[in-house]
């Protein structure tokens, strides 16, 4: 999934990507938890489960502005939600194609979820497996939950 995250954020959003090996919790990773936007998408195939992505509003201002080629002040909340969903959709599809093109994974329709709710739902082992992403100057997180 890391390769897919890098490819999508670098190709479509023009952001340099690094991954943190910090073992902090998601709540510690995001200092301002009130302004988080999240998205999830289900998948079926040889394995089934869901993928998730969370980004703070500050990151989304930059990411969406890069994506749409507009100024940061011109971006609506609806566009930010749409960007998180589409980024996750691309990460999922690209990730599965990198994982093994001969296996068919079917992705669901991405849906928005309030970021704080999402990170509260990611508990236990799933939280430990969260991928902590540094994109430009922004902190994001994502992961896979297998059923």
């Amino acid at each position: 999934m890391r390769a897919a995250i890098s490819d999508v954020l670098e190709t479509m959003f023009f952001m340099t990507v690094q991954f943190s090996e910090n073992r902090c919790t998601l709540k510690e990773w995001f200092s301002d938890r009130k302004s988080l936007f999240g998205a999830t998408i289900s998948f079926k195939g040889p394995l089934s489960g869901s993928l998730w992505l969370v980004a703070p509003v500050s990151a989304l201002n930059e990411i969406t502005a890069n994506f749409l080629g507009r100024g940061k002040d011109e971006i609506s909340n609806e566009e930010k939600r749409d960007t998180v969903k589409e980024a996750l959709n691309m990460i999922g599809g690209h990730g599965f194609s990198l994982f093994g093109r001969k296996d068919t994974f079917t992705l669901g329709i991405p849906s928005s979820i309030e970021g704080l709710t999402l990170i509260e739902n990611i508990q236990g082992d799933s939280s430990k497996n969260a991928i902590l992403i540094v994109a430009g100057h922004n902190r994001l997180a994502g992961g896979v939950v297998v059923d």
Partner: protein
């Protein structure tokens, strides 16, 4: 010759980025049309002539594969070249789309050059096919 392009994707951000990519590619576009799913696309096609259609696969209401299926049932719509622009990249899915009648397949994330290259190639072929038909008609083959 300016072409009309229909972009079908449930993400308006993605529709915007595809539109922007086509604009900067230098392709002469008469009209950009947009639809959020297959059903909306069919409604657009009732009223507008489209030279090429770019569609996502994974959409609510009517997905991209179902859209191609509906277009194939119509004598006029089946001639419109369709390009899939999608995250779904399994070999089986690509093959399925091409068998359904898609003329091209672009995986997200894509580079602007991929969109430009695919559209120019398909529109070039379409123009050639149209010329052949026109010449055949003028030549008295009918």
């Amino acid at each position: 010759m300016a072409v009309n392009v229909l972009i079908v994707d449930d993400s308006f951000s993605m529709r915007s980025i595809i539109k922007k990519t086509i604009k900067v590619s230098g392709l002469e576009v008469g009209k950009f049309l947009e639809a959020a799913d297959g059903k909306e696309a069919l409604q657009v096609l009732v009223n507008e002539w489209v030279d090429i259609l770019l569609t996502d696969i994974n959409m609510p209401n009517m997905n991209g594969m179902e859209l191609i299926g509906e277009m194939k049932k119509d004598e006029v719509l089946k001639s419109i070249p369709v390009v899939m622009v999608t995250t779904e990249g399994s070999e089986r899915r690509v093959q399925e789309a091409m068998e359904m009648g898609a003329r091209g397949y672009i995986m997200k994330p894509f580079l602007p050059e991929e969109i430009k290259g695919t559209l120019c190639s398909i529109l070039g072929e379409a123009e050639y096919e149209k010329k052949e038909l026109d010449e055949g008609y003028e030549g008295g083959d009918f």
